[in-house]
């Protein structure tokens, strides 16, 4: 099923856990370092470098871009390291999370409460995923290197719905 980011952030109910989707639109990378900094800034009432309301966050730290290509390897990193920050981020209006692996119950509850959705990409296939990225812009926190926030314009990025807005969890069978 093909899904556009702009439609998805306004209505996450269109996705059910277990579905395979192809996502197109703008997504923002943020992993450990960027999460810590965003939450610190929120706690200090500082203005964030981007408006995070109704955006898609992708847990990813890409490789350097060699000349002649859009982006290097850019697969997902382990989501559970972001669990500590996620409820806060979702309360601030982030609607869609993309990463890999299981989430805690606190995160699942927060996804449900905020009508958000958690999508997973295949880990360890960063070269394959790079083919879905059509444009890259550095947005903020350049000093964090691979952990900076980048805006990716993606086209038909292959993903699976892992936790839907009703809190159904694809990993539940093993937890």
């Amino acid at each position: 099923m093909k899904i556009n980011v702009n439609n998805l952030v306004l209505n996450t109910k269109i996705l059910r856990y277990g579905q395979k989707i192809f996502l197109s639109g703008a997504i923002y990378t943020a992993r450990d370092g960027a999460h810590k900094r965003i939450v610190d800034m929120l706690n200090n009432n500082e203005k964030l470098p981007i408006n995070i309301k109704n955006i898609v966050i992708y847990y990813c730290g890409p490789t350097f871009i060699k000349p002649g290509i859009v982006i290097g390897a850019c697969g997902p990193t382990t989501s559970s390291r972001m669990d500590f920050f996620t409820p806060r981020i979702l309360n601030e209006g982030v609607k869609v999370l993309i990463g890999k692996g299981t989430r805690t119950k606190i995160v699942i509850d927060s996804i449900k409460k905020n009508n958000a959705v958690y999508l997973i990409a295949t880990g360890g296939v960063g070269a394959f995923i790079s083919k879905s990225v059509k444009k890259v812009d550095l947005i903020a926190f350049a000093d964090l290197g691979p952990e900076a926030i980048y805006k990716f314009e993606v086209e038909n990025m292959p993903l699976i719905v892992a936790i839907d807005s009703d809190g159904n969890d694809i990993f539940a069978r093993n937890n």
């Binding site: 395979k20 370092g33 990813c60 730290g61 890409p62 490789t63 350097f64 871009i65 060699k66 290509i69 290097g72 390897a73 850019c74 697969g75 990193t77 382990t78 559970s80 890999k100 692996g101 299981t102 997973i120 295949t122 880990g123 360890g124 296939v125 960063g126 070269a127 394959f128 790079s130 083919k131 964090l144 290197g145 691979p146 292959p158 699976i160 694809i170 990993f171 069978r173 093993n174």
Partner: protein, 280 residues
């Protein structure tokens, strides 16, 4: 004595950095292809196909297999009749890493201090383990290891009288609780014996073995097969979405230990098992 210039070592390491990060080893690819056929679950089949396609793109276009181009581990067999001319071997290898990561647009994933967390911007320092052997050659094996799978590794000091059952339970627990999020299908290196420090290195060295290789000791060879079967019946599957392919191999390595001790270490390697070797 055979004289080898330290620059020669740096240049060899630079090559290894590219080779490992762009080329999935043939034995790993073969095992993946075999499991695509064996898998019945759709998600499992699709993911294994993506992993194989990823390896093709990486090799042809020289894009890293995974964005996590790893902490740089080197296992060196240094011939006792080698004289290294110029800088020392640690400097030479680190210089090669710096050149190899920069020159190939690989990600710098090392921070200078675990609390301060400032990127060193050249992926050094590397972990360098040197064994002195006979001869006049240097054999360098490079294993860049991703952080996600490294975080799933574990070590436990067991009670000697409890024997194999406890080892098995510990390993299965590690895979079920932590390995499932470390990008399965996994390669699992087990160290048993030695002490706290040596057992973890033993488990890491086990990851250098080729898929389908067997432990020389029949007892451990049998346990490797048995553990692989148990792990593949957990229904974790590729990316923890269910299926039979949770691990591609289990490798056990053992060494003598203290009468009071029974250390066991589990090194978890994700499917992006990057390794390359060069002999100078």
């Amino acid at each position: 004595m055979r004289k080898i210039r330290s620059d020669t070592i740096s240049n060899a390491v630079k090559k290894l950095c590219a080779e490992a990060n762009f080329n999935l080893p043939v034995d790993v690819l073969k095992a993946l292809r075999k499991n695509v056929v064996l898998e019945e679950e759709k998600n499992a089949k699709d993911i294994l196909k993506e992993i194989i396609e990823n390896a093709n793109i990486a090799r042809k276009e020289r894009i890293p297999l995974c964005q996590d181009t790893g902490i740089a581990n080197f296992f060196v067999k240094l011939g006792k009749n080698v004289f290294i001319d110029g800088k020392n071997i640690y400097y030479a290898i680190n210089r090669g890493v710096s050149m190899g990561y920069k020159g190939n647009y690989l990600r710098n994933s090392i921070v200078s201090d675990p609390i301060e967390r400032k990127n060193t911007n050249n992926n050094t320092p590397a972990n360098i383990y040197i064994d002195i052997v006979s001869g006049d050659k240097i054999k360098i094996t490079f294993l860049p290891k991703g952080g996600g799978s490294e975080n799933a590794c574990a070590l436990k000091m067991l009670i000697p009288s409890l024997g194999w059952c406890d080892v098995e339970r510990f390993i299965v627990d590690v895979v079920s609780n932590k390995g499932k999020n470390a990008c399965p299908p996994l390669i699992i290196g087990i160290g048993i014996g030695g002490d706290f420090a040596s057992v973890s290195l033993l488990s890491k060295k086990a990851l250098l073995r080729k898929i389908n290789s067997k432990n020389k000791i029949p007892f451990y060879a049998e346990k490797e097969m048995k553990l692989l079967n148990i792990i593949n019946s957990l229904n974790i599957g590729p990316m923890n979405l269910g299926g039979k392919t949770t691990a591609l191999a289990v490798f056990i390595e053992s060494r003598p230990t203290h009468i009071a001790s029974f250390p066991v270490a589990v090194s978890i390697q994700c499917h992006s098992c990057k390794r390359s070797t060069i002999v100078i």
